[in-house]
């Protein structure tokens, strides 16, 4: 059922982190053009990730004995809000920090917890998530990759596709079938931890429409895995994945994907001077929507901090947030179209071009808009 969005406030001790993060970003992002920063959490930079790790800012909410900082969900909100708003290249550690480490802490073996989670926090273990397959997209329960019991472990065969940074990851956590057939749907699925450098695993990048290589296809040809590759319980993969997706969907990355573009455009208005009434009105609208979504995201953070399970609420914020992010390039393009040809700075145009071309992905990644609305309808008792 749907919980109400209670206003939440960031505690002063967590808010205090903002100043340090801003100083760090000012020092590390100087000279990086806006159209690079617009890649936001799709921008991969292992050096940047390690610099963040040296400040103790990867795994902020994770327990200190596993290399984390033991801080609150609100501290993490402040950190990632600043990283995203600035367009910091955080992709290298993003999935590991957001999803994989919490999952391993909850379901992993003590060896995995003690070895891998601290490596994630040091920025030395990058993760990808093996969900989609060539014939399984939104219908995730139809996955066909299959692991059979073998002497001392598992034998895995199959393929994953559209896997974010699979070709640069050290590990994959994959949803695969471990019993039954496709007709058994979400029964018989399990999550496996797969080192990407072992025999039989191949990962190839797929070039995206902006010319980047952020997603990939991954093949498993009789990959032999140890017994402890199983994460959590055999056959509980579906429930574990659903819980994991709530983490994936609840964060401010569903609000800030176009922020670099907004700041570049408003910066241009300030430099040029004399904003038109239409430009001022659009600025006001974008600002009001951002403030609203930010408060909703904070409210979901409050639910996480209270150890509630905001699956439906996170879906609401993600659907609203991605609609907002997606609307921005079209609205700004229409304003820029009123200007004298040649007068708009090339960097702003390049940023607009990148965000406009990638923005359809905002409501695909992590669950499509249509799937989210189904989740919301279920939360309302309509299905």
């Amino acid at each position: 059922m749907l919980q109400s969005f209670e206003p939440a406030r960031i505690p002063d001790a967590d808010e205090a982190l903002r100043k340090d993060v801003r100083e760090f970003l000012a020092a590390h992002l100087t000279g990086m053009p806006a159209d690079r920063r617009a890649r936001s959490w799709m921008g991969f930079d292992a050096d940047f990730t390690r610099a963040l790790a040296r400040r103790g800012w990867i795994g902020l909410t994770l327990p200190t004995r596993y290399g984390g900082a033991g801080r609150s969900q609100f501290a993490r909100f402040v950190l990632i809000e600043e990283l995203l708003a600035a367009g910091a290249p955080v992709a290298a550690h993003w999935i590991a920090e957001r999803q994989s480490a919490p999952l391993l802490l909850r379901y992993g073996t003590e060896t995995q917890r003690a070895e891998i989670v601290p490596a994630i926090c040091r920025g030395e273990a990058f993760f990808c998530i093996g969900m989609s397959e060539p014939n399984s997209g939104s219908d995730l329960a139809s996955v066909r990759s299959r692991a059979e019991r073998a002497a001392g472990g598992w034998l895995l065969s199959g393929s994953k596709i559209w896997t974010t940074y699979g070709h640069r990851a050290d590990y994959m956590i994959a949803l695969v079938r471990t019993s039954g057939g496709v007709e058994d749907r979400n029964r018989g699925l399990s999550q496996l931890l797969i080192p990407m450098n072992i025999p039989g695993v191949t990962a190839r990048p797929i070039r995206d429409l902006a010319g980047d290589e952020h997603f990939s296809e991954v093949h498993f040809d009789d990959v032999l895995l140890n017994d402890d590759a199983l994460i959590g319980e055999e056959g509980s993969g579906w429930d574990q994945v659903i819980a994991e997706l709530a983490f994936e969907r609840s964060g401010p990355e569903r609000i800030y994907s176009s922020t670099v573009l907004v700041d570049s455009w408003i910066g241009h208005l300030r430099t040029r001077g004399d904003p038109t009434p239409a430009e001022a009105a659009l600025t006001g609208r974008l600002l009001a929507e951002l403030a609203t979504l930010r408060q909703m995201s904070l409210s979901v953070t409050g639910m996480l901090a209270a150890e509630l399970n905001p699956v439906v609420e996170a879906s609401i914020v993600k659907d609203l947030g991605t609609s907002f992010e997606q609307s921005i390039p079209g609205l700004i393009a229409d304003q820029l179209a009123s200007e004298t040809p040649g007068s708009v700075p090339p960097e702003l145009l390049a940023t607009l071009e990148y965000v406009a071309s990638m923005s359809p992905s905002f409501s695909l990644r992590g669950g499509t808009r249509e799937i989210l609305r189904g989740i919301i309808a279920r939360g309302l008792g309509l299905r």
Binding site: T259, L287, A288, L382
Partner: protein, 245 residues
Amino acid sequence: MSDGDLFLDQYIRVLDGLPADDPWPALHESGFLDLLRPEADGGAGLELDAVFALAVETGRRPHAPAVIETMAARLIDPQAIAVADIEPLHGRPLAAALAAAHMVGAMEAIEELTLAYALQRRQFGREIGRFQAVQNLVAVLVEEVRAARMAVQAGLVGPLAAISPRTAALAKIRAGQAAVTVAASAHAVHGAIGISEEYALHHHVRRLRAWRIAHGGENWWSHELGEWAISVDRDVTTLARGLTP
């Protein structure tokens, strides 16, 4: 139970017991009209968060009189009664923020009506809420109602006099934007019954429309807010943080 909850509970009973012909003597007698006045003057010195809750309850009831506006008017004129427009007394930001709070109530009532109808009305052998196309309409309606509530509620904290034009802008822009989608989706789900006089939907929607265009609409407030934002040389995230107390 906090003081605010207690007031809210009593307020709901008073509202639901008002005579239709002339509600004002009963309201006056209830003491609610003076709740915003300082405790020293016989009031309760209610602040914006408590006023928000009362305004939402008022907005949910399609025939409730202008209680909240009258409460605010009595801060200036203790004898005021049945005051519908407080903009001349308190300025546009407070008037707009209170209108937005009422809109949240009206939209929540519309959400309840629509959800109940989608689960009750059967076509093609099942409840219409079982169809994906209808689920889509209802999901978006609910998203808009939650967004509007958050935008209004987050800013309404502290004393009435402290309300900033930025907070009012946030509230009125987001509530007004939601009102358009909420009204259209609710009517779409209801079909012909929503157009009939006897059904409650149009009373809610009529008031929602009136509040939307009172005290500045989305365009007026967006322009105000945008001019301010462009004049302050800060990034949009910092500006967004500053819109709520």
